[in-house]
Amino acid sequence: MAEASAVEIFARRHRLHPLEALPWLAAAAGFFVFPGYLALGGQILATILYAISADLVLGYAGIVTLGQAAFFGTGAYTAGVLAAHGWGEPISGLLAAALAAALVGYASGLLVLRSSGLGLLMQTLVVASLLAEAANKWNSVTGGADGLQGMVVWPIFGRFEFDLYGRTAYLYTLAVLFLGWVAARHIVHSPFGRSLTGIRENALRMPAIGAPVARRRLAVYTISAAFAGIAGGLIAQTTQFVGLDVMGLERSGSVLIMLIIGGVGELYGAFIGVPLYMIVQDRFAVADPVYWYFWIGLLMVLLVVFARGGVLGLVRALRARLRR
């Protein structure tokens, strides 16, 4: 019998499946095959990170939130304001974005997570609306309705400038997404992550086995906020602009849609749902933006009623049927 190679041992320990390499290969290929679409590509990658952040709270911890944009937007404005006021170093900007978003996540989590169901949903919405309105009014800092002008983002490591075609932005975003994914995967497969599923399924029993429910929910909420903040910071830095939409209701709502298309609670739902949504939307925007709203709305209704698990759910159902 042949000895297991070092790679195989590593893969087994981390439960790596060969298919997991697929998204990364696709992303790398995209860089070479679609040079004219890198700006959109970079935004897709950043949004995948945002969707992963939402999946952590939604899919794993079962917290239904309509306010994820609060953290995304906080991250975006933090990175943006820094770059517009003289500190354009991108990596430290991202760290600042993560920190700011995590703080907002922690503070709002303390208030919001005491409720559940509609009360919780409502409060997440109010928090996001509150922050959006603050960004609107505090326009001496944020630029308000006009948007944050004058962002100057320095080259990465002093060498790689952000070019008009989005090449640097794409690779930068890809690298950050990769790191974020590694971290998310680690969290999800850890005992902490496993306990989240337990909390989601039956919040009443968990304390009985010694799991501190409230603390765990707050922890995942904060972590998710940090991820969302990083995604927001990426968008700000790569587009060199921050508008009020980063905090808006559509930003909060669309990430839910993207997750359900791909599949909630699977971590890879983000990798499928986000590109599908954004690419189709991009095509529709040119052809007819009005119809986009109609079809995506219809898709959502049909998905909920007939194909709840999204694309990944359908794949699983198909495989189960093929095995029979």
Partner: protein
Amino acid sequence: MARSRKRFAALLAFAPMALPLAAMAQTVKIGVILTYSGPNAQVGDEMNKGLDLYVKTHAKDLPPGLKVELVKRDDTGPNPDVAKRVAQELITRQHVQLLAGEVFSPNAAAIAPMTKQAKMPFVLMNAAGVSIPRISPYIVRTSFTLWQVSLPMGEWAAKHECKTAYTAVSDFIPGYDAQGGFTKGFTDNGGKIVGTVRFPLANPDFVPLLQRIKDAKPECVFTFVPAGKQATAWVKAWSDTGMKEAGIKLVTTQDVMLDEEMRNMGDIPLGVVSSGNYSVAATRPQNKAFLAAWDKAYGTSAIPDFTSVGAWDGMAMIFDMLKATKGKFTPDQAMAFFAHWKNPNSPRGPIMIDPNTRDIIQNIYLRRVEKEGGKLANVEFATFKMMKDPWKELNPAK
């Protein structure tokens, strides 16, 4: 059989002549960014009609073989992020040679840095924020600036209409500019501003705001809101709260007294004085010719307004440049041409570009709303001749 072979041979004889023609055929791609969807689509539509009409009626003026292709994209409203993304796509994906359009100042300001980075000439056809041409040397404007339009309004109001005024504007770049210009013109001529407010851009209900202003008892109220439905809501609230009856006069810019939108305001605007660069009711022959072409293309139920004329003139400037350069130009050559462009025959009167600022110099008219032929019209009664942008005069670039 033999006849068709002969015909074929005849065609072949002419073929070599066709080759140079084919080589000469050239298409200039122009990226047009306007608002085609959402609540502000009205304005985008007006501009679209204006530039399409110019292209249609003047395509024959271009050198033979030279064609213009308009690549149109939607910025969906005052959404700077969308506008920026769309502009980037036009530059990197569609490889346009010129950018044109833009309704909203925040959008134009977001696009501006990119035009500098990509050396892409951008013909601003509406956005009126004063400092936008300063952000990039590749921007030229054919519409107007809000200081240019509101300063004369303030000056006239102080001299003829009221001693005290309250200013209330939407909270974004054009609002600030309108407020600033009016205030300077008003206070420089002896007027006193008794109150000032900036309200959110997305404001559904103006009644409480106007009651507040009414309680401050100014003689005039100056306002600026985005052209269209908000203007109607404002004017109706001005009447509903009794301000009109109490004698508090409304003074404003052409955005609020939009020729097309006034149809929805009933008789309320009668007597309101506004300042602007174009009114449909203008009697000069160039306007009559423009209106005739417009009616022929779009029917008499569609009315042009100052945004249509801004687009029309912008297209005229582009066409003049294409004729002068025969369609072959570098960005710097195009900008050099634009900076010295003049048009004595615009529907709004004589206009020219200021070579120092790349902004527009034109007549500003004061108009009063009167009834003409059973319909409301902005009738021009005073002219401020060939005005430069006062803000840039007062704030020279360093």
